[in-house]
């Protein structure tokens, strides 16, 4: 008797999860609100294409960059976007390997965030080339100039790292979504939806043999993706740290960058989680527990980033190189001091509220703290590039830097490049991994049953 009740409850719970997740793409709950977000996002995308057109027509001269500050908004935002992307992979892959069940409510949209953030990041180095249509010169191919790329340069490493990262995160996200596309296909009523989701699902039918191989491929990719994240952002830090430039040439940079990247990414994941659960009525699946866990991750990575700040200052003071000391003073009090203090305050001050459990579980508070950290990390990326370049070895080469109108509008437009595909993803694809939530439900019920016996 009790046995049957438990079964029906279990079956209803599975059906409930599937219904909750697949109803969103099939019968979108709040179409008006979605259009209210989507149209401005398209506006931002139009800003992007305008700024891009101006850039391609005139060249990088329309930006405020010049010698010595030849990396402005392009590389600042490249590092910032890519850093945000890393959190999706870490949540998805690292927590999968650790068998943490609460990850299943967050991994899908976190991975989508990764994918689109990496696309935004990858566009920046292309655009800053000056002649972006020649980007393929970075690839080693036999050419009439009989030249090869300089493989000892971090700039070439960058090309390989970002391409690999984009490919791996796209594939990981895709094989993770295939079973849920199949569920959406099976519940779709319209012919067009059936055909389109069916094509995406590749004919997935949940065979045990398929699941076995799928599980092997999924877990192996996850295991490889974690060191990949560390390598990609370490490599980006080498773009700076491998040069003999005061303020950059430091061994603390790789871990400092990786942790800062994870921190900024967890901040954005927290914001997206808060907005999605509210907007799509997913409170059953993204519960206060998940916000709590995100808050803890944010706090932990934030404190590690703070350690990086302290280590950097200590490093400079202990080494006592005059150029480094002069740069440190410029960072703290110079024309870009706002970016240093903006980073310190935005990143670490509201963060301390996360020590309280009530704050971590409060959606609005978590959103605001995440927002503050996101802005703070942008200030940090600005500070690292602009202060360092404008204040180099020789006082004769110190020059100011002001971002130009088109530089800023390209950045504003880039938010559209992120938001438009992300909103399409929310509207048309399963935003939560239904089958992994169900798997966790099953495993938890098994654990409970075993405990009682």
């Amino acid at each position: 008797m009790t046995d049957t009740t438990r079964d029906t409850e279990g079956a209803t719970a599975y059906a409930h999860v599937t219904a909750e997740v697949t109803r969103i793409p099939l019968h979108y709950p709040r179409p008006k609100a979605w259009w209210l977000c989507f149209l401005p996002a398209c506006g931002l995308l139009a800003v992007f294409f305008t700024a891009l057109g101006v850039l391609l027509w005139n060249g990088v001269g329309v930006w405020g960059v010049n010698i010595p500050v030849n990396w402005g908004f392009d590389i600042i935002n490249y590092i910032w976007f890519l850093g945000i992307g890393h959190a999706g992979t870490l949540i998805s892959a690292l927590l999968l390997l650790l068998n943490v069940h609460w990850r299943n409510s967050l991994n899908r949209f976190a991975e989508a965030m990764t994918l689109f953030a990496v696309v935004c990041a990858g566009l920046y180095p292309l655009m800053h080339l000056g002649r972006p249509w020649l980007f393929y010169w970075m690839a080693p191919y036999p050419n009439s100039m009989t030249l090869w790329p300089q493989f000892k340069s971090p700039l070439t490493w960058d090309f390989f790292a970002v391409l690999t990262y984009l490919t791996v995160s796209a594939l990981f996200w895709y094989i993770g979504i295939v079973p849920d596309l199949a569920a959406t296909r099976d519940r779709a009523n319209g012919r067009l939806a059936q055909v389109l989701y069916g094509l995406g699902a590749l004919g997935w039918r949940g065979s045990a043999r398929h699941w076995a191989r799928w599980g092997q491929a999924y877990r192996l990719t996850a295991a490889i993706a974690v060191p990949l994240v560390v390598s990609v952002h370490s490599e980006i830090s080498l773009l700076l740290a491998a040069g003999p430039v005061p303020g950059w040439n430091s061994t603390v940079f790789p871990p400092y960058f990786v942790l800062g990247a994870a921190f900024s990414g967890f901040a954005v994941v927290s914001m997206i989680a808060v907005v999605l659960r509210k907007a799509l009525g997913l409170e059953d699946l993204v519960r206060p527990l998940h916000l709590d866990m995100l808050g803890r991750l944010l706090l932990a990575t934030g404190l590690m980033t703070a350690y990086g700040y302290a280590a950097e200052v200590f490093d400079t003071l202990y080494a006592a190189e005059p150029a480094d000391l002069s740069l440190l003073a410029d960072r703290l009090t110079g024309p870009f001091a706002w970016s240093y203090w903006g980073a310190v305050i935005g990143n670490f001050l509201p963060l301390q509220l996360l020590w309280w459990r009530g704050v971590r579980r409060h959606p609005l508070a978590l959103f605001l703290i995440g927002f503050s950290a996101m802005v703070g990390m942008w200030c940090e990326r600005f500070m690292l590039l602009a202060t360092t370049l404008h204040h180099s070895w020789l006082a004769s080469s110190w020059r100011p830097y002001t971002p130009s109108f088109w530089e800023v509008s390209l950045f504003v437009g880039m938010l559209g490049v992120f938001l438009v595909p992300f909103l399409l993803f929310i509207r048309f694809l399963p935003v939560i991994s239904a089958f992994e939530v169900k798997e966790a439900l099953f495993e938890e019920s098994g654990e409970k049953g075993a405990g009682h016996a």
Partner: protein, 184 residues
């Protein structure tokens, strides 16, 4: 996976269960009863099924390893060869500087491993395959929601007994899976 026949003998027979544990029990009993050509269909991965169906296929991990090795060799070899093909001697530093090659070697190792893991998984699963006789059974759409299916295929040597056997397992229902003519 059986090949579709010309004159359409049944593709198989299917039993539906509403609980993964019952499905695992059913699979174990079917194998004890001597059925060999069978498969289970579930909305989420049930690890016990791998054991119950005696699936011992480790080709995906091996492919991943091979892909990683090939990626590493290509990555490292490419850098060594190009540096020797177009030497740029700077200050007497070694042309082939091992530490400077490691990052790209690592990235291509990852790329090779992940591509072969995922493409290998799809190829071994014979996916994409948009058409399949199982999709002809109207109830089968529940396999992606909350029902758990056991299918004994038509080419099993003891297929004659399969329908009666499945009925004896007290499933929700037992259904015939007709062979469908599809594009091959």
């Amino acid at each position: 996976m059986p090949e579709p026949k010309r004159s359409l003998p049944p593709f198989g027979v299917m039993a539906e269960f509403d609980d993964p544990e019952r499905l695992v029990q059913a699979v174990k009993r079917a194998r004890e009863a001597g059925f060999r050509h069978l498969d289970a269909y579930t909305p989420f991965p049930v690890t016990e099924l791998t054991e119950a169906l005696d699936i011992r296929d480790n080709r995906v991990p091996w492919l991943t390893l091979m892909g990683g090795i090939v990626g590493a060799a290509v990555g490292f070899g490419m850098q060594v060869w190009t540096n020797l093909d177009y030497p740029i001697p700077i200050g007497g530093r070694p042309l082939v500087a091992i530490p400077a090659t490691m990052l790209i070697t690592f990235e291509l190792t990852v790329l090779g491993a992940v591509l072969s893991a995922i493409i290998g998984m799809l190829v071994l699963n014979r996916l994409p395959r948009l058409h399949h006789p199982l999709f002809g059974v109207p109830e089968f759409h529940l396999a992606s929601v909350d029902k758990f299916f056991l299918v004994i295929f038509g080419d099993d040597p003891r297929f004659e007994e399969a329908g009666g056997f499945l009925n004896g397992l007290a499933p929700v229902r037992v259904l015939d899976v007709p062979q469908t003519e599809g594009p091959e």
